[in-house]
């Protein structure tokens, strides 16, 4: 069932959240954020899938499918796939910004340990 995909996305989200919350290395925390992004991609694509559907970009219908069947909606949801595409492209830019911030912080504090950043403590 497609529910397994949702559960896997939830488990991946929990892995990323655990990494962000418990690790002290800044680059490891950015890695946890990348895991969370991957879980959101998986969730979006799993929501776009319908039972027995084909990709929405085909030129010719594959075996066992007709053009009228494809026109009646037996394709995956293109809107959610476009959301996922946008999320992938934005995700790599966000990761680059996070990593540059981590490099600047490590050059300022001479360390990557997040416990040593005393000015950030509330």
């Amino acid at each position: 069932m497609i529910v397994a995909n949702y559960l896997t996305a939830a488990a991946l989200f929990c892995f990323g959240l655990y990494t962000v919350l418990t690790r002290r290395n800044l680059i490891k925390m950015v890695m946890g954020l990348s895991l969370i992004e991957s879980s959101s991609y998986l969730l979006l694509i799993s929501m776009a899938y319908r039972r027995g559907s084909t990709p929405p970009v085909l030129l010719n219908p594959p075996h066992g499918q007709t053009v009228t069947g494809l026109a009646k909606g037996n394709v995956a949801d293109p809107v959610l796939q476009n959301f996922c595409l946008t999320a992938i492209v934005i995700g790599v830019a966000v990761t680059a910004v996070f990593l540059s911030v981590a490099v600047r912080v490590s050059q300022h504090y001479r360390s990557l340990d997040s416990d040593r950043m005393r000015e950030m403590k509330g």
């Binding site: 084909t54 990709p55 970009v57 085909l58 030129l59 594959p62 075996h63």
Partner: protein, 83 residues
Amino acid sequence: MYLAVVIAELALVAILLVRLGRGPTVSDRIVALNTMATQTALATLFFAAYADRTVDLDVAIWLASFSYLGAIIWSRYLERGLL
């Protein structure tokens, strides 16, 4: 039959994950990752033939050439310490 090939290649990927997790040095993990990318390219090709989707074939070519690029980037990083 194509589906059996895809599932067999995925099982090989699962075997290689053991070395990716256990490898004592970084080089072992690069070897495992490179072989994983090759097996995934094969699985992609056979899945395209199974599901009869010609759009999936380009992903196999991307994977086969990018495993090489990844190995080159990793070995350069390993050799000089900086990209």
